[in-house]
C-alpha cells in the first residue's frame, strides 16, 4: 500500500524526455576540468548538473541515493586521478566506497549506465566533455527511470536456494554451561552472565541475564539458541551490570571482534564463554549461515565448553547460491524483485535493533538534518533505508543473519549483506570478524585497489 507522492516525478513523457544527469565532482580536479572544458569551448550535452564538493572523498553514497530519489536518470561521480588528490588520499578512500556502491547498485538491478564513475583531472577538459557525452548517450540507451519499478513479469518470491537441511542434534553442553556460569558468578569474575533461557512460546529460546549463581539453572542450550547475544554488549549491559560474561557461538564471537575493532567495548569488560555449535534452526530448518560455517569453535573466547563435535562437511554454497540466482536475473527483474522486497518493509527497524554492529546512539535513519532517509514507508524511504543499512554494514557484517531472522516481512537482507561481504572479500581481501587489530576495509585503502569500474 504505497503512498502516491507529490515528490516522486511523474511518469516521463517519452517524447520530450531528456536524461537528467547529476554529477558529484571534486572541487580540485573534475570541477576544474569542467572549467577547462568551458575555457576550451568544448561542447557537450546540457543534461548534466554539477554539484561541487571539496573531494571525491566527500561524495556521500547517500547523495547518490538522494539524487535518484529526486528523479535523476543517472549519476556521475568524478574526482581526481589516483595520486592527484588535493587531500592526498581522499580519492583512494572514495574508490573503495564507490566499489561497494557500484556492486550494490548492480546487485539491485540498477542499470550500470545510471551510475558511472570517472577520474577527470583539472587538465582533462576534453575528457570531461567526452565522459558526459558518453554517459548521456548511455542514459538515452536505457531510457527514463520508471517511477514505479516492475514490468518484469511474474517473479518467483522464493529463491531456488539449496534445499532446506535438517538441524543436527544439538551438543549436550548444558551441564557444563551452567557450572561455568555458576563458577564465574561465584568467583565474581563477571557481574552478569548472558546466555539463553526458555522462551514463553513452545520451542523458543530467548536471551537470559543471570546475575546470581543460584539462577544458573535457567540457562539452556539447544538448536533454538538463535539470538546473537553480542548485540547486548552495546545496549547498556556493561553500564548496568559491570563485567559481562557472554555465551558466544562462533558467529557471535565474530561480532565481538567487530565491536573490539570499532572500539565499542573493551576486551577486559567481557568474558567470553564459547559454545561449540553445529547449527541453529531458523524457520524449521538449518539456518542458511550454518550451511557454510566452517567452525563449530568460536575464536577469541576465554573459555570454551567441551563437546565432541561431529564432522560436518562444509559442502554447501549457502547464500552464494542464492546470490548467484539473483544475479542471473535481468537487471529489470532484479530491480522488481528487490522492489517487492523493500515494499514490504514496515520500517520497524528490527534489523537494526538486533544487529550487533548497529550500535550508533542515533541512527542516521532517525536524523532530520538532513532527512537522510525519508520516514515514509513507501518506495523511496524503504529503498533508502535498506540501501543505507546494507552499505553501512559493508565490510562489517559478520553474517550472523539475525536481521533476516527477525524481519517481520521476510526481506532478504542477508543476501544484500552477503553480496557486499563477497565484494569486500574479493576486492579487498577482507573478511569481517577475523582479526580485531585490522582496520575495517572501508577505513583504509591500497594504492592498487581495483578501479576497472571507473572511467
Amino acid at each position: 500500500m504505497s503512498t502516491e507522492t507529490l515528490l516522486t516525478p511523474s511518469a516521463p513523457d517519452t517524447a520530450t524526455w531528456k536524461p537528467r544527469l547529476v554529477a558529484f565532482v571534486c572541487n580540485w580536479c573534475t570541477y576544474t576540468g569542467a572549467d577547462l572544458a568551458g575555457t576550451s569551448r568544448t561542447e557537450y550535452p546540457a543534461n548534466v548538473r554539477i554539484v561541487r564538493l571539496p573531494c571525491s572523498g566527500r561524495i556521500d553514497p547517500h547523495f547518490i541515493i538522494r539524487a535518484f530519489e529526486q528523479g535523476a536518470d543517472g549519476v556521475l561521480v568524478s574526482g581526481c586521478h589516483p595520486g592527484d588528490c588535493h587531500y592526498t588520499a581522499g580519492n583512494y578512500h572514495a574508490r573503495r566506497k564507490f566499489m561497494v556502491l557500484h556492486a550494490l547498485a548492480e546487485f539491485l538491478g540498477i542499470e550500470p549506465e545510471r551510475l558511472q564513475f570517472s577520474w577527470v583531472s583539472a587538465a582533462e577538459g576534453r575528457k570531461w566533455a567526452d565522459v558526459v557525452s558518453d554517459v548521456v548517450a548511455g542514459l538515452l540507451r536505457v531510457g527514463p527511470v520508471q517511477p514505479t519499478w516492475g514490468g518484469a513479469g511474474e517473479l518467483p518470491v522464493r529463491s531456488l536456494s539449496e534445499p532446506p537441511r535438517p538441524v543436527p542434534e544439538p551438543l549436550d553442553v548444558v551441564g557444563e554451561l551452567r557450572a561455568t556460569a555458576q563458577r564465574w558468578l561465584s568467583d565474581c569474575r563477571v557481574d552478569v552472565f548472558v546466555g539463553y533461557g526458555q522462551g514463553s512460546l513452545p520451542g523458543r529460546l530467548r536471551p537470559a541475564f543471570i546475575t546470581s549463581p543460584d539462577e544458573v539453572d535457567q540457562l539452556v542450550w539447544n538448536e533454538h539458541a538463535v539470538n546473537n547475544l553480542a548485540t547486548y554488549l552495546t545496549r547498556g549491559l556493561v553500564k548496568r551490570h559491570g563485567r559481562v560474561g557472554l555465551l558466544v557461538k562462533s558467529c557471535d564471537a565474530r561480532a565481538v571482534v567487530g565491536l573490539l575493532q570499532e572500539r565499542q567495548i573493551e576486551r577486559e569488560q567481557v568474558t567470553l564463554l564459547g559454545v561449540p555449535c553445529i547449527g541453529v534452526e531458523v524457520d524449521g530448518a538449518l539456518a542458511p549461515k550454518c550451511h557454510t560455517c566452517d567452525s563449530a569453535w568460536p575464536a577469541l573466547v576465554d573459555e570454551v565448553l567441551s563437546a565432541e563435535v561431529p564432522l560436518t562437511p562444509v559442502d554447501g554454497e549457502g547464500l552464494a547460491a542464492e546470490i548467484a540466482w539473483v544475479e542471473k536475473m535481468s537487471p529489470a527483474q532484479r530491480r522488481a524483485w528487490w522492489q517487492a522486497q523493500f515494499d514490504r518493509c514496515l520500517r520497524c527497524y528490527a534489523c537494526r535493533a538486533v544487529c550487533p554492529l548497529c550500535y550508533c546512539s542515533q541512527c542516521i535513519a532517525d536524523q532530520s538534518r538532513p532527512q537522510w532517509v525519508s520516514k515514509s514507508s513507501d518506495g523511496r524511504g524503504n529503498l533508502a533505508w535498506n540501501l543505507v543499512r546494507a552499505f553501512h554494514l559493508a565490510g562489517r557484517c559478520v553474517g550472523c543473519g539475525e536481521c533476516t531472522r527477525v524481519c517481520p516481512s521476510n526481506i532478504r537482507l542477508d543476501l544484500l549483506n552477503a553480496k557486499l561481504a563477497q565484494v569486500v572479500r574479493d576486492e579487498f581481501g577482507y573478511v569481517a570478524g577475523g582479526d580485531p587489530d585490522l582496520p575495517p576495509p572501508l577505513t583504509t585503502y591500497l594504492l592498487e585497489d581495483h578501479e576497472e569500474f571507473i572511467r
Partner: protein, 338 residues
C-alpha cells in the same frame, strides 16, 4: 427487517460472490512465504487459513499517509489536498482479533476531535470477519475477553461450521453487502458455540490476573521494570504488527518546488519517540518505554475505556526478536506489586 444470520457453502464461496458483485476486496494472500492482506481479484488467491503476519489495520491506518501537500510560490504557499482515500473496499477474512483491533482504533481516532484522514478511509471499509478455527501457539484472545468467534468490529462474521459457513450480519454496512450477494447466502441459522469451544480448547491457556489495570498502575515505580525489559532491543516490531497500536509521527518531505506532510507509523519503543528538542527524554530508557507499552495496553486504556487495548492476537509475542512476552511481563509486574 432482513435476517441477521445466513448460511453459505464456504467462506471461499462468500468471497466469490463478493467479487462477483464487483466489490474491491482485500484479503489474506501468501507473499514471500508469509500471509499478508492484499488486493485480490480471484477468490482462489485468498488464503483463509492461519494468521497474517501484519494486522488488518493498514487499510484504515496506512504506514504512510499524505495529510496534505503544498506548492511553494514566491511569495506564498499553496495548499494541496491530502490523499484520495482508496475506493470502497471489502476487507475479507479478518480474524476476530483483528476486527476487534479495528473497533479499538475506531474509538481512538473517532474520539473528538476526530481524525479525519482515518475516518475517510475507514468509512469505505466493510469488514468481513472470519472466525478462528485453528488458533496459533501465541493466540491469547480469550485472555483479553474476546473469543475465536467474537463479532467485535466485524460488519459480517463468517464462522466455518462442520458443513458450510455461518454468516452473521452485524451492522447496516454488513447488511448492505449481503444485499449484493444474492443466492450465495441462504437465510438460516446455526449455533457457533461448539466452534468457539473447540477453538478455545485448542489454545494454550493464557490468562491475565484480575485487577491488572490497577496492579500495573501501582507497579509504576518498581525497579523490576529494568529486569523485565532487559531483553527488549527497542525496535518497533511489536507495535507495527499490533492491530491496536496507533502511534504515529508527522513529517514533511519537500524539495524546491513543494512538498507534503505525511503521517507515518511510529512506535513507543523507539528511543526518539518522546525525545524533547532540548535533549530531555521523559522515557529515557528501555525500561520506561516498555513500561509505557504495558501500561498503555493494560492499565491506562482499560481504566479509561473498560477493556484492554489488546485483542490477544499474540503477534507481538511471536514476532519479537528477543522473545519478549507482554502478557508475561504485565502479569509478573502486577503480581510483584502485590
Amino acid at each position: 427487517m432482513s435476517p441477521t444470520t445466513y448460511l453459505a457453502d464456504s467462506a471461499q464461496a462468500v468471497l466469490t460472490a463478493i467479487l462477483a458483485a464487483g466489490q474491491r476486496v482485500v484479503a489474506p494472500v501468501e507473499q514471500a512465504g508469509l500471509l499478508a492482506f492484499a488486493h485480490v481479484e480471484q477468490a482462489e488467491q485468498a488464503q483463509l487459513i492461519g494468521q497474517t503476519r501484519a494486522s488488518a489495520k493498514e487499510l484504515a491506518f496506512p504506514r504512510t499517509q499524505r495529510l496534505f501537500g503544498y506548492r511553494f510560490g514566491n511569495p506564498g504557499v499553496e495548499l494541496l489536498p491530502g490523499e484520495e482515500p482508496p475506493a470502497p473496499t471489502v476487507l475479507f477474512g479478518v480474524r476476530p482479533c483483528d476486527a476487534a483491533g479495528l473497533a479499538i482504533l475506531d474509538g481512538v481516532f473517532g474520539a473528538e476531535p476526530a481524525d479525519a484522514p482515518y475516518l475517510a478511509r475507514r468509512a469505505r471499509i466493510t469488514v468481513v470477519g472470519l472466525s478462528c478455527d485453528q488458533p496459533q501457539a501465541h493466540c491469547a484472545c480469550t485472555a483479553v475477553g474476546l473469543s475465536p468467534t467474537a463479532t467485535d468490529g466485524s460488519d459480517l462474521l463468517l464462522t466455518p461450521l462442520a458443513e458450510g459457513v455461518l454468516v452473521e450480519v452485524l451492522t447496516a454496512r454488513g447488511a448492505a453487502l449481503v444485499d449484493l450477494l444474492g443466492e450465495a447466502l441462504r437465510p438460516g441459522a446455526a449455533d457457533k458455540a461448539e466452534v468457539t469451544a473447540r477453538a478455545e480448547a485448542a489454545m494454550a491457556p493464557r490468562a491475565l490476573p484480575a485487577g491488572l489495570a490497577d496492579g500495573l498502575a501501582a507497579a509504576f515505580g518498581e525497579a523490576a521494570w529494568a529486569d523485565a525489559a532487559a531483553r527488549c532491543l527497542g525496535c518497533g516490531t511489536c507495535a507495527f504488527v499490533c492491530p491496536t497500536c496507533h502511534c504515529f509521527d508527522v513529517v514533511d518531505e519537500s524539495n524546491l518546488r513543494g512538498g507534503q506532510r505525511l503521517r507515518v507509523w511510529d512506535a513507543c519503543q523507539f528511543g526518539l519517540f518522546t525525545l524533547h528538542a532540548s535533549g530531555h527524554n521523559p522515557r529515557a530508557d528501555q525500561a520506561a518505554r516498555y513500561r509505557q507499552r504495558a501500561l498503555h495496553k493494560f492499565s491506562y486504556y482499560p481504566r479509561a475505556h473498560g477493556r484492554p487495548m489488546c485483542v490477544g492476537c499474540g503477534r507481538c509475542v511471536n514476532a519479537c526478536p528477543a522473545g519478549m512476552d507482554i502478557f508475561e511481563v504485565a502479569a509478573t509486574a502486577a503480581a510483584g506489586q502485590g
